[in-house]
Symmetry: C2
């Protein structure tokens, strides 16, 4: 494994508090995979065999009902661990995972991760924190879907990317628009229209580059409170 990867792991929110030898043991049988964009890592319904960690690139968790309709539940990127709940509970994945960029993924065998959680209090504690964070992200998403319109959801998303106290910001969309639309619970067509609607709140978009020129107005439009 590369040096920079080991560094990434050492700084990872789940693994950082593990004693070195425990971390080595955990990663002993881990696999590193190189996958082009668009690769399916696993499918909804399969048994959880690995805990996944993104070394590099970008992955989407994709939910499907009758395999015709699909939605993106969340994106993960460098340093993110995903699909821990299925691994912990030894249950089938509730979603599929697909790379949306060329990516390198670390696969940690599920049984070994569970074993380490039982041996190492530091790991189960860190896992609780990580799961708690993820739970809160999902709560935000549920509230978004139930309480806000499509343009408001887009605006909130842009604000969450900007992460500034100032009145203006330049940001870059990390996702393709089609994928972003699915993540936000709308169609690509409607995402376009949502962008138009936000123009009057100071949102200008040229390709991936987005300019927010009036953040206070945008916050108001989105009913964006930081904790929500």
């Amino acid at each position: 494994m590369k040096d920079q990867d080991l560094q990434l792991l050492a700084g990872n929110s789940v693994l950082e508090h593990l004693p070195d030898n425990a971390r080595q043991y955990l990663l002993k049988e881990a696999l590193e995979l190189d996958m082009p964009s668009g690769t399916t890592l696993f499918r909804q319904g399969e048994d959880a065999r690995f805990l996944h960690l993104v070394l590099e690139g970008r992955v989407a968790l994709v939910g499907s009902s009758d395999s015709k309709d699909e939605t993106v539940v969340e994106f993960f990127h460098d340093g993110d661990v995903f699909i821990m709940p299925a691994v912990i509970l030894e249950l089938p994945y509730l979603m599929s995972a697909r790379t949306v960029e060329d990516s390198r993924i670390l696969l940690i065998p599920a049984a070994r991760f569970r074993e380490c959680m039982e041996q190492e209090p530091a790991l189960s504690l860190a896992a609780s924190h990580e799961l708690a964070r993820h739970w809160r992200l999902l709560i935000r998403q549920v509230k978004d879907l139930k309480l806000r319109s499509a343009p408001q959801r887009l605006g909130s998303y842009l604000l969450s990317l900007s992460d500034t106290d100032g009145d203006r910001a330049e940001i870059e969309l990390p996702e393709q628009r089609g994928m972003l639309a699915r993540r936000l619970g709308m169609t690509p067509e409607n995402l376009s229209r949502a962008f138009s609607r936000l123009q009057s709140s100071g949102v200008k978009s040229r390709g991936r580059q987005i300019e927010l020129s009036d953040i206070p107005t945008l916050r108001k439009f989105c009913a964006y409170d930081d904790l929500t």
Copy 2:
């Protein structure tokens, strides 16, 4: 505390693997509250001061945007612990909590719960499992909201209540219809209409009593797969 309460706690998924003395320590400063239906336990935005446990009754987690619109994210009943993520992370609540029946609630001081999590590996392990389960419930809800129509969501909910392999079932709605509508992401009016639409799939409702006379057809209509 009543005997039956201690029994409930002993069988609780988070507390059951705790050694007796640790559980006693955890609960030492816990408060037991009796609240009529409709009481607000805490409000979105407040700091998380207590881990909550339902001894008896029923509680709704209510999310609001501009305090005008509200939605129900989840219900909890006897034996359920809720709001653990905010307690673990020492962050403000993302939602308010309101009793929807006369209820008795146990309040466990947040600091003490965190302390016990650090001392007792059994607790952090149990917490991970609980959080993982809750995460998966939310994932289901997100997929529901994004991929299914209102009648399908209602149908899926009814199927999840019926919990049978047979072709028919009688069930009783545990919630008031208005609350249920908000939990399912629709208006009360639309819930009524959703019930009508499900008649052709063998759903008959008289008050709280629901009869599912053709479960296979209903499953099909809802695109209901057990793992989703």
